[in-house]
């Protein structure tokens, strides 16, 4: 192993770290903050170590393999670990089982175009959520039977027609789509009604008030009576499955009133003679990017301290990542995500469906759904891709910026990491190839290969042990969700990243496939053993 920090990879899982060590009875839960505040190197050189699956750690330890892949297939290179999606799906599935819930977890295509991930997911019980004509075609090619596919998003007529013809579950975004579906119903497969969910938004706040946020998606909940009337008129051609909504991560206060409204409308539909059987509560469950809460807190505290002028800058051009100083006080809000959550992924989901609903005598969503034998559908886009991929890049060269920052110029650009919206704040893992390593005392900033100013890969400073040099490889961890190919372009005719899928036989024994050639069925049958 080169300079990968040795970490605990105990049975409890890969996310364990100092945070867990702290909960040992031996030194239970407490930590003198001055250990963290003043203890020299940590505070001066704060690190945000990434949460890392043990198999990814083992893969990165196989330096010869890593170098040969990046050298042979080109930089940047996206490396997928399709097997890991099964583990995450299993954890979500357990939440269903523990509450005796029926319904479908829809794996979402949108965050990553990988065929390997789709094919792996197709071998589990999940459905697939597509949001364009192209994604629907890939889904069919990825091994999903149309009855397992749900089509979301705004739909043009070609997309909608293919949905109707393939009898996929259509999550209707607007009234026009619904009318078009009714008109097209005679083109459905023989004897099959078009299957639809109706996406709602604009829910009234309940006891808890919130400021309404505008949205381009869904049908206003106040228009539901008109929708129900239309569905009743077209009962013979449209099979109405239920109502849906989707909020982004963290919108916890808006969910209970939305779920209540959807459930109340569902009961209303039943009384009126429709047969809705599902409620779709969308996605928006978080990923834990950082390995350790204290790492993350420390970095943010130091970032704020730097913005207040109490230490050297931690951001490119001292931009502050959303924070600024005003009259000596910190102002602004972060323009990056929280990288550490106590409850992420399936736990986040469980807390949403276990929240008591005031309009239903304090029963939880899970209880109401299970009692009434409804199905519960979810689309956990980001959360299912946790630990499913990393992005590798060559270092082109090291240099100093005009104002003296130490730069590592990578053979990739910011479109390869979609870092414009979703800033990845974890430290990349460095795999050093050069023997003459130079200490990186002042920290390093990662810059891309575009002949444009400010092609920053990360806007903040990281503190590796040594300064990355020409030929070293940098690995960004946990990039499968929205960061690999979401906004990747051929800007300046630079390469876009190839994708490969990695599987591990015995621990530490890795095989790779081009993403499009990865086929879990062929592997299972021993044809590509």
């Amino acid at each position: 192993m080169t300079k990968l920090e040795e970490k605990r990879t105990d049975a409890a899982g890969f996310q364990s770290s100092a945070a867990e060590a702290k909960s040992d009875p031996a030194n239970a839960g407490q930590c003198l903050a001055d250990d963290m505040l003043e203890s020299g190197s940590d505070r001066k050189r704060p690190r945000v170590r990434p949460a890392m699956h043990p198999a990814i750690r083992r893969f990165l330890s196989d330096e010869k393999l890593v170098f040969s892949l990046v050298d042979g297939l080109g930089s940047p290179l996206n490396v997928l670990f399709p097997k890991h999606i099964e583990e995450t799906i299993g954890r979500f599935d357990q939440v269903y089982k523990d509450r005796q819930l029926q319904g479908t977890i829809f794996y979402t295509s949108k965050p990553n175009k990988s065929m390997a991930l789709k094919r792996q997911a197709s071998t589990t019980r999940v459905g697939l959520d597509v949001s364009s004509f192209g994604e629907l075609k890939s889904a069919l090619g990825g091994g999903f039977h149309p009855e397992r596919i749900e089509a979301t998003g705004p739909k043009n007529i070609d997309y909608l027609a293919l949905c109707v013809q393939q009898n996929v579950l259509i999550n209707v975004d607007n009234f026009v789509e619904l009318k078009q579906i009714a008109q097209m119903s005679s083109y459905s497969p023989q004897g099959k009604k078009a299957r639809v969910l109706v996406r709602l938004d604009g829910f009234e706040p309940g006891r808890v008030k919130f400021t309404q946020q505008d949205s381009a998606f869904g049908i206003p909940v106040k228009d539901a009576p008109a929708i129900i009337e239309f569905l009743l008129e077209h009962k013979d051609s449209i099979d109405f499955h239920g109502f849906s909504f989707h909020f982004n991560a963290g919108d916890y206060i808006r969910r209970p009133p939305a779920i209540e409204a959807c459930l109340q409308l569902t009961f209303r539909c039943l009384e009126l003679g429709l047969s809705p059987r599902a409620i779709d509560v969308g996605g928006g469950y978080r990923i834990r990017y950082a390995a350790d809460q204290d790492d993350w807190n420390t970095y943010i505290e130091e970032l704020k301290s730097s913005v207040l002028g109490n230490r050297d800058s931690l951001t490119w051009n001292d931009s502050g990542l959303g924070y600024h100083r005003e009259d000596g006080i910190l102002k602004g809000a972060p323009n990056f995500m929280e990288h550490y959550h106590k409850n992420d992924g399936h736990e986040d989901f469980a807390s949403v469906i276990d929240t008591p609903l005031p309009a239903f005598d304090g029963y939880s969503t899970a209880r109401i759904v299970s009692d009434n034998m409804f199905e519960l559908h979810i689309e956990p886009g980001r959360a299912l891709l946790d630990q499913c991929g990393i992005t590798l890049s060559h270092v082109n060269f090291a240099k100093q910026s005009i104002l003296g920052e130490q730069l590592a110029v990578l053979d990739m650009n910011r479109t390869n990491l979609n870092s414009t919206q979703l800033k990845l704040m974890t430290d990349p893992v460095l795999i050093y190839r050069n023997a003459d390593q130079k200490p990186a005392d002042k920290g390093v900033m990662y810059v891309g290969n575009l002949c444009l100013t400010h092609d920053m890969i990360q806007y903040h400073k990281t503190f590796p042990d040594f300064s990355p040099q020409t030929g070293d490889v940098v690995a960004f961890i946990n990039t499968a969700a929205y960061q690999m190919d979401f906004a990747e372009t051929h800007v300046l005719e630079q390469s876009i990243a190839k994708k490969i899928a990695i599987i591990e036989g015995e621990p530490g024994e890795f095989r790779w496939f081009l993403d499009e050639l990865y086929n879990p069925l062929a592997i299972a049958l021993g044809i590509k053993p």
Binding site: Q30, L32, Q100, K209, R254, W296, N297, K304, D371, N372
Partner: protein
């Protein structure tokens, strides 16, 4: 002692020595500043009154509304005072996390508005942040609105300088260590400044913080403190992080060991104090005094405490109870289940009492003919406590998928009932197109 007005009872709280057998320190006397004995129940009585007392008559005369960013102890004290003066309040906060305190504030007549924040912590720059919303409303109509602004008002630490700090100095000849939770930071800043100015310039002042993903009422993480308008890091000698569950444990130590019916935030300060002091206790050659703030009372935190330490509520398993019953779902299932395919014939032969244990709403929407409804929360209590059914008549228990009722049926058989669970539950019943009825 006679008083004219309850606000005269604010402050002048006692200093209680915590017995050494409770905290275990050998060379340090640890005192609780009994802020929980303020008339409205917390340390916040001081600042609520301290900030508005000079303005309250004008607020009353002009018919102004008091706005504040709190649904906790500050809100409670403000509401009581406002009620006495016939002044309206409006409390705007993030979704409150301690329902017990919030319920009392509502009961007092407060108008609480909870807002959705962009972030989970105090962020004065978020357009949905309470501080921001209130500042804007007050600015738009300064003649009608009044904002004490506990997070930014310098009167907050000043009140503690003039009262809390002075009282401690008057009561104790020397104070060597001072501990308080970091919330608005008013109490720790003000009191510590007074102790330094008058008593001991070498006072060690320690701020007790909560970890960022944890929640201790009235305490924030150090990270969040940067955004408080009052916080001055240099005024603290050190910071201690504590965990909310352990703070509850420490609170129980005070409750059971010292008779101090204080809340979890007091527990946090006490825990921070003991942990910090234990490290230096052995090396001391002379006796030292330490003070922590016991900021409020335990009563309104029962739900908060239950979430973290359910065992405190006597949730022990009584032998022979349903809770203590070890169920093996794999073992000879046919003894306590009835298959849907044979169920109708069995019902016709045996005339069982059919009990649907789902919620009442679901039962009313659709159920098995002749079933009665006892939702499982009630059902569990009933069968744990007594024998509510005749043992001669068979029982058919129905839940959504037959998992819960399989356990109930197996358990009740050990108690001599002829109890059976509908295998696969009502879902399987429906899937087999058996007859369902709607309760009207």
């Amino acid at each position: 002692m006679k008083y004219e007005n309850i606000t005269e009872l604010i402050g002048n709280t006692p200093l209680l020595k915590i017995p050494a057998r409770v905290h275990g320190l050998k060379n340090i006397d640890l005192y609780a500043k009994m802020e929980m004995m303020n008339p409205f129940g917390s340390v916040k009585d001081r600042i609520a009154w301290g900030i508005i007392k000079d303005d309250i008559e004008e607020i009353q005369a002009k018919g102004k509304t008091i706005y504040e960013n709190s649904s906790g102890n500050t809100a409670k004290a403000l509401q009581v005072i406002a009620n006495m003066y016939g002044v309206k309040t409006r409390l705007i906060t993030y979704l409150a996390k301690v329902d017990g305190v919030k319920d009392i504030v509502r009961m007092l007549g407060a108008d609480i508005e909870e807002v959705l924040g962009g972030s989970e912590c105090f962020d004065p720059n978020d357009p949905n942040d309470p501080q921001f919303l209130i500042a804007k409303m007050v600015k738009d109509n300064p003649e009608k609105n009044y904002f004490p602004s506990q997070f930014t008002n310098p009167k907050n630490p000043d009140v503690h300088y003039k009262t809390t700090g002075k009282e401690i100095v008057d009561d104790l000849e020397s104070v060597d260590f001072f501990f308080g939770g970091l919330g608005t930071s008013g109490s720790t800043l003000g009191a510590a400044r007074r102790i330094r100015d008058e008593g001991n310039p070498a006072l060690v002042s320690v701020g007790v913080c909560a970890s960022k993903n944890d929640f201790i009422p009235g305490i924030r993480s150090l990270d969040q403190m940067w955004e408080s308008g009052l916080f001055v890091k240099e005024n603290y000698d050190n910071f201690v992080y504590v965990d909310s569950g352990e703070s509850v444990d420490a609170m129980m130590e005070l409750i059971r060991g010292a008779g101090l019916l204080c809340g979890p935030t007091s527990g946090a300060s006490y825990l921070g104090a003991v942990r910090y002091l234990k490290k230096i206790d052995d090396q001391l050659t002379e006796r030292k005094n330490a003070v922590f703030i016991a900021c409020d009372r335990v009563e309104w935190y029962t739900d908060y405490i239950r979430e973290r330490r359910p065992q405190l509520y006597g949730l022990k398993m009584k032998p022979g109870s349903l809770r203590a019953f070890e169920f093996d779902p794999a073992g000879s299932k046919e003894r306590f289940t009835v298959k849907v395919s044979k169920a109708q014939a069995w019902i016709d032969d045996e005339n069982p009492l059919i009990i649907d244990v789902r919620g009442n709403l679901a039962y009313k929407m659709t159920t098995i003919p002749n079933a009665i409804n006892i939702p499982w929360e009630l059902f569990e209590t009933m069968i744990d406590a007594a024998d509510p059914f005749p043992k001669e008549r068979p029982l058919l228990l129905v839940c959504p998928v037959g998992e819960k009722t399989a356990r109930y049926a197996a358990y009740l058989q050990t108690r001599g009932y002829r109890s059976f669970s509908l295998d696969g539950g009502i879902l399987e019943w429906r899937n087999c197109s058996c007859r369902l009825v709607k309760i009207t």
